[in-house]
Symmetry: C2
Subunit: 543 residues, 2 copies
């Protein structure tokens, strides 16, 4: 691996070396073809077949040709691609890398503008309107047919807390409205929105810079839920300090090796109609009055690479990035609070927003609920369904999870419903005509979560499968018979779950030896009258 | 297709012709090898790769050689195998065939014993004990290592209602205890158990015949939940009247073309220790005092075929058979009661006992709950989780179902918990040491179900994917680029869900033409002060 990556160009070389990049040389229309084409790999391939894409010859519905290339799903097409973006090999290493980065952040460094590739080309002032401004960039229509405009699906919005000065990087989708104006939506619960409210309180606009195509670690950070600045965590994820450089027209430090930086002011006095665009829910969100961004300057590399996330309907690149970016911080919290914490899956089925599965290793009484309540308190917008399971359950396989909730749960005993969840963009909260406020917090109490304790409440009898040694012996026979290749799923052999009386084990041993009539004879001496069915009392019989 | 099948032998020929039968000529031990070997196809292959198996050279841990062959997972290894057993091609035809059979049952016919292959060999009285009786048959240890004995996993138990004389066929697993004695377990909610109680009321034992390897339709019937006799439904499923013949030692008519019939009396005065065996839950059930069967005669074909179901841990052959056998009758009820009823999946993830997904086509208010309550009332033991979804959801794909419960549900509004469910063999009801009664009906109120209305409560904005025409165009490009074969998953294109204002559609059209700056300009005239966030009121601005 070539990690740390100085920029997205080094990363794309590595992706190609790993056979994880598809280059498309043919001419492709960004308004009608790029989105649908890459979408197919999410709606029609297995996850391990998905790759990053680089479109080298981009046109649009106006017949324009772009100097820029378009890179799609290059950081989160699959677990393998995500791992490559972090410079590691496996999903397990991804978890570890996130844990290390949160524990050991790396401060950024400031470089001179002469060493900042993002400064190669500069447009500001009237140039913006003369040249076409932001409309010169090949911003795709991601979901042609429903999206009302081209929009930045992989924007890294840099804002600073007006009080503390702490930098935040967040992914807030941004509609192209004019050469010098974007719409953007920052929903509740996001740091950028907190900054906006603080700026409004001061009667000021909020300075911001929209970064496109930074080094991959910063892309991966921008959709996580971190208590620390993305600038320090992305440095730690990438294994080198993030290089920052001064912006041209706002008082901010921005990533120096990004491909594109769009500077300006987010107005706090007025809002403007925006949307509707697809959201993580897989449905278009509402059109509504949202933030606007007045552009003051654009800088970029020569022949820049324009990065696009495939997002909305899960599974998508965005859901994959949100998955790991959110699992890291929540895993960190769960590990600190719950001694038996073992594993976490923030599931793509729920858009990496609504479903969390937590596994616990031999939890003590109460720990399952401690884990459920910790996850419920993680973020006021997240998790409609939270399920705690034991560590024999494969939390990445819903067959296994649904097996656990089928046979380890009694709903009246093991389920709790919590009110007070922010609904945000969840379309089940209120009809599309409702105001943003009504949708976010219907009936004053908000939406709800359902928590399920699917851990064992007592020792269970063994899993009803042949034991491991016999399954392994049968696997050898299987291979000798030349049958199709096996991919063992969990569970693939019988194991104990805490209740396995000695006599049962003895009978099982006799059975394998073909001596089960001995057990039948033993049982012949264990009889009771049939009143037992009603009374549960064992009474001697004459037989 | 060769259907109707006169017997299992005709059926095996057809299965082989369809390349759905694996013949194993090598010597295989029924006590340690057959179960594990076939189990691998359920724990390590995709469903469409699974087949039926015929073991032609069977031995056991005592070194015996059997004249009988052992047939495993021949009726329910997969949907394709199940369809073959009904003589149809697809799962859709399976549904239709079940619906037809329930609506148009076919009465059985009685044949002379000279035309009944099951009578080729007869053992009764002292012969049973002299020859080894039932122990002469190659009854496998299905889960060696945990099972305490060989047991019949595919027994078709024929009993008659002592009052009405109506025949029932049920699959009640049966432990081999002695040459002339079996243990058997009929859990609550099954017809055979109702017959047993009625016989006990009369102070009589209950006559019964254990049938092995009948024609495939009868096997498929025996695990369903029917209000009619399996004798008439299996005839209708097979497309010919079931042939019956008089039993030798009990006053009953039994399937004439089966491979084996074991006649006797289920005692109603005493119970005997039995088990523990694996159950549909995927866990071993409890050892407990259960029914015993005193054998009075065994008849069988020469060189009989001994049929085995792979059951317990889902997915299994039993869960596949239960799935269709239960979906048919419940589908029939739902179609009668719920006008918008569209589809049903009794999911293997829940052992085809605990999870039901119902889809509805444009349900009117209340119909989702009507469907949920109908399913909840279907059987007092069944369904811990019942979920109603719209017909755009693929009820056979949990990605799609979980997407619906993530974004179409608010738990406090759309969830109901019902008490009063019999727990039966559900190990979450009470600890393993508890009596049968405590386990079946803990705390006097029993277990519980959770019902989820995941249908749309109002019109939703469109699904955030490119529209169908553009996805189809992109698929052509995909194929021209020589990329891997696509298997489209639902949803694979954007579609409307009832909320799609005209202006949004217009903006979407402009965007595809690259004219999205026009929408930006239009939106520039739609502004409000930022107080809108708090007030929801649109106020004119000076901009």
């Amino acid at each position: 691996m070539l990690v740390p990556y100085r920029d997205v160009r080094e990363y794309l070389k590595e992706l190609e070396r790993l056979n994880l990049l598809i280059r498309v040389a043919r001419r492709v229309n960004k308004d009608t073809e790029i989105g649908p084409l890459v979408r197919w790999q999410f709606q029609g391939l297995n996850e391990d077949q998905r790759k990053g894409w680089l479109f080298e010859n981009v046109t649009d519905s106006r017949g324009r040709n772009f100097d820029a290339k378009v890179a799609v799903s290059i950081v989160g097409a699959s677990r393998r691609v995500y791992a490559a973006a972090l410079g590691v090999e496996t999903p397990e290493e991804v978890e570890k890398k996130w844990e290390e980065a949160i524990s050991h952040p790396i401060e950024p460094v400031v470089v001179d503008r002469s060493k900042a590739p993002v400064k190669e080309v500069l447009m500001k002032g009237d140039d913006l309107r003369k040249t076409g401004g932001v409309d010169e960039l090949p911003v795709p229509v991601v979901n042609p047919g429903t999206d009302p405009a081209a929009y930045f699906s992989a924007p890294i919005w840099i804002t600073r807390d007006p009080e503390t000065g702490v930098y935040n990087a967040g992914t807030y989708r941004s509609q192209v409205k004019a050469p010098d104006r974007l719409g953007l939506h920052i929903s509740s619960g996001h740091d950028g929105r907190v900054h906006w409210f603080k700026a409004r309180e001061r009667g000021e606009p909020l300075p911001g810079v929209l970064i496109v195509s930074p080094d991959p670690a910063l892309s991966l950070c921008s959709v996580s839920k971190l208590d620390q600045s993305e600038y320090v965590i992305s440095g730690a994820l990438n294994g080198r300090p993030l290089e920052l450089v001064k912006a041209e027209t706002v008082d901010m430090l921005i990533p120096a090796t990004a491909e594109i930086a769009i500077e300006g002011m987010i107005r706090t006095d007025i809002l403007e109609m925006e949307g509707p665009f697809g959201e993580f829910s897989g449905h278009a969100g509402p059109a509504d009055y949202k933030f606007i961004f007045d552009i003051t300057a654009i800088t970029h590399r020569r022949s820049p690479i324009f990065q696009v996330f495939i997002s909305e309907m899960p599974p998508s690149e965005s859901s994959m990035i949100r998955k790991f970016g959110r699992e890291g911080p929540l895993r960190h919290e769960l590990a600190a609070k719950v001694p038996s914490f073992h594993g976490l899956n923030i599931a793509e089925e729920g858009g990496c927003e609504e479903i969390a599965i937590i596994s616990l290793r031999k939890p003590k009484p109460g720990e399952a609920w401690q884990a459920l309540h910790t996850a419920a308190a993680f973020n006021r917008k997240m998790f409609k369904w939270i399920i705690a399971v034991d560590d024999d359950i494969n939390i990445n396989d819903f067959f296994s999870i649904l097996w656990a909730i089928s046979f380890r749960v009694q709903p009246h005993r093991d389920v709790e419903i919590q009110r007070g969840k922010n609904c945000g963009l969840d379309p089940s909260s209120a009809p599309g005509e409702a105001s943003y406020k009504e949708r976010d917090f219907p009936d004053g109490q908000g939406g709800s979560r359902l928590l399920i304790d699917a851990t064992l409440k007592w020792g269970f009898p063994p899993v009803a499968l042949p034991t491991k040694d016999l399954m392994l012996h049968a696997k050898e026979m299987w291979e000798e018979l030349g049958l199709p290749k096996l991919t063992p799923r969990s569970p693939w052999y019988g194991y104990e779950l805490g209740f396995w009386p000695k006599e049962w084990a003895e009978a099982a041993k006799l059975a394998m030896e073909g001596r089960y009539l001995e057990t039948g004879e033993k049982y012949r001496r264990m009889r009771t009258t049939s009143k037992y069915i009603e009374t549960g009392q064992i009474e001697p019989t004459m037989d």
